[in-house]
Amino acid sequence: MGENNIVVSYLPLIVMVAVGFVFGLSNVFLAEILGSRRNKTNVKLDTYECGMEPVKTARERFSVKFYLVAMLFIVFDIEIVFMYPWAVKFRELGEIGLVAMLLFMALLFAGFVYVYKKGALTWD
């Protein structure tokens, strides 16, 4: 496999990243160029016939419940990431791989049960 093949195989990814950058930056700059600079009143900056009416600032303090959910998300994200290499080699690994993964998941499920029993997931 030559070097050109490597670059060619990642070409769609490179193009996608480039298009994403260009699109995002061009929107910001076009809004700066084409948009009016004068008369920026609150009414004119408001949402117009679309979206929710803004009720207050977005710089509010978040609740700690969000942190608990995000923390649980991380742990189970890691679990899923460890399942990818297991899944692609599932047939070759056989029973040992299955038992190993079941043990892995059982330990993490114990953590989930703990969190559930402690009520960290209740949204009161």
């Binding site: 990642y10 700690v64 994200d77 190993a100 892995f104 953590g111």
Partner: protein, 168 residues
């Protein structure tokens, strides 16, 4: 100079710039966003190394999960306001920078001595970056560390809940 070297160069420059921006930003949210960019460039560098699986996991775990938690934490503590940004450049900055320069010198000297290039395999001898190869190694040679990771994550869950929840 080949295309891969060019790509590596661009990614390396962006990685260093976003790393510096992470450390230097006054605003923690700007810091976090620079770190997200840094993780993406590192994923690109892993791709130039042909470590596809690690590149994908880098985006999934670091940019996708850990940074979400960090940004939540910044929002939770709301430390982004200007009046709390009073990091005075004092003696600690000088000492830290001096230590950094020393460390850079040491690490650079070690990196350039003789290890590199001695055991390098000839190109075309091994395919190690694919998910299959990693699954093979992980479940045949590193089975016990794999199970230990689940214990580690269990302890992390319990510890984080105990620390973060107001009423247990």
């Amino acid at each position: 100079m080949s295309v891969t070297v060019l790509l590596f160069g661009i990614l390396a420059v962006v990685a260093v710039a976003s790393g510096i921006s992470t450390v230097m930003s006054r605003n923690p949210v700007a810091s976090a966003m620079s770190l997200v960019l840094h993780f993406f460039t590192l994923a690109g560098i892993y791709l130039t190394l042909q470590a596809q699986f690690i590149a994908a996991v880098q985006v999934l775990v670091y940019a996708g999960a850990i940074m979400v938690l960090v940004v939540f934490m910044i929002m939770l503590l709301n430390v982004g306001r200007e009046e709390q940004m009073r990091e005075n450049p004092g003696y600690r900055t000088i000492i830290g920078t001096a230590l950094g320069v020393m460390l850079a010198f040491q690490v650079g000297k070690t990196a350039f001595t003789d290890v590199a290039g001695r055991h390098v395999l000839p190109p075309g001898s091994a395919v190690t970056g694919t998910t299959e190869a990693l699954g093979e190694t992980l479940f045949k040679m590193y089975l016990f560390p794999f199970e230990a990771v689940s214990l580690l994550l269990l302890v992390a869950v319990v510890g984080a809940v105990i620390l973060a929840k107001r009423k247990i």
